[in-house]
């Protein structure tokens, strides 16, 4: 047996030569309704993508704009106030401690 598959005497070359002679007699026309279904699906898919963009991206943009306007309005005084020339200082170090809910202290209180 030849070691070159392209050699016409090789079994593979003879098998493929015979296989090529088999005509494909199957119908190549689109099945009934295929084109209508595919066209409808293609356009529906496009619309879904656009509507998802409308629904989420544009709405999110609107909400973000509203929030931006609201925050500017809320802080209008601070934003327009003259900046203080004096440095900000804390009266004592205790003021730096933020009051916080301490669950450990609550548990210890209950234990007492």
């Amino acid at each position: 047996m030849s070691s070159n598959l392209q050699d016409p005497r090789h079994p593979w070359a003879r098998l493929t030569a015979a296989a090529r002679t088999v005509p494909d007699e199957r119908d190549t026309a689109a099945p009934y309704g295929f084109a209508t279904r595919v066209a409808a699906l293609a356009f529906a898919h496009e619309e879904t993508v656009v509507s998802l963009f409308d629904r989420f991206a544009l709405r999110a943009l609107g909400v973000a704009s509203l929030l931006a306007i609201f925050s500017v309005a809320w802080n209008y005084r601070v934003l327009t106030a003259e900046p203080s020339s004096q440095p900000v200082t804390f009266a004592s170090s205790e003021e730096l401690v933020m009051p916080a809910y301490d669950p450990v202290a609550v548990v210890l209180d209950i234990a007492d």
């Binding site: 392209q6 015979a18 494909d24 199957r26 084109a35 209508t36 595919v38």
Partner: protein, 198 residues
Amino acid sequence: MPDEAVPAFDLAGCLERVRQRDQGAARELVDHLYPLVIRIVRSHLPRRVAEEDLSQEVFMKMFTRLAQYQGAVPFTHWVSRIAVTTCIDHLRAQKRRPEFRWADLSENEAEVLDAVMTNENDVQANDAMASHELVHKLLAQLKPDDQLVIRLLDLEQKTIAEIAGLTGWNQSLIKVRAFRARRKLQKLFQELKRKERS
């Protein structure tokens, strides 16, 4: 008497109308391209995948990517490439390849294979269908990419340049794949010869 000429399909006009979201034009385009797509799909159809489902997937990809088509290559080439790459994706997804065994061949297939391995005569015309089946079973032993290259080279007799155009792979890669696939097929034939039909 001159034949009544069938008006040629106006592909450019049809594409323009599809871009303007004309559903009728989209239907015409699918009908026009279906024979091209179904031939590719049938040649590279993976096991247990319906040809109609695969064709539908090809057309859906075509419509989704239509905006990307710049006209650098003929539209039919562009669609052929989508069809080939869709088939290869499905072939790659099928990780398991069926083992090729003498016992799984039909009587006629086994006789044809036995004959081509023991003599140097051409296959008889009435054994062409058995040869066709055998070739497909042997090709199924190869990796999907190698399978595609050998199918296009040896069955469809396409050139390396044509395969490059269809797949988007460079020509060196195609040659490497063809070499690798032929080596695997040669090994398979040697193994079959060794086991020989019992």
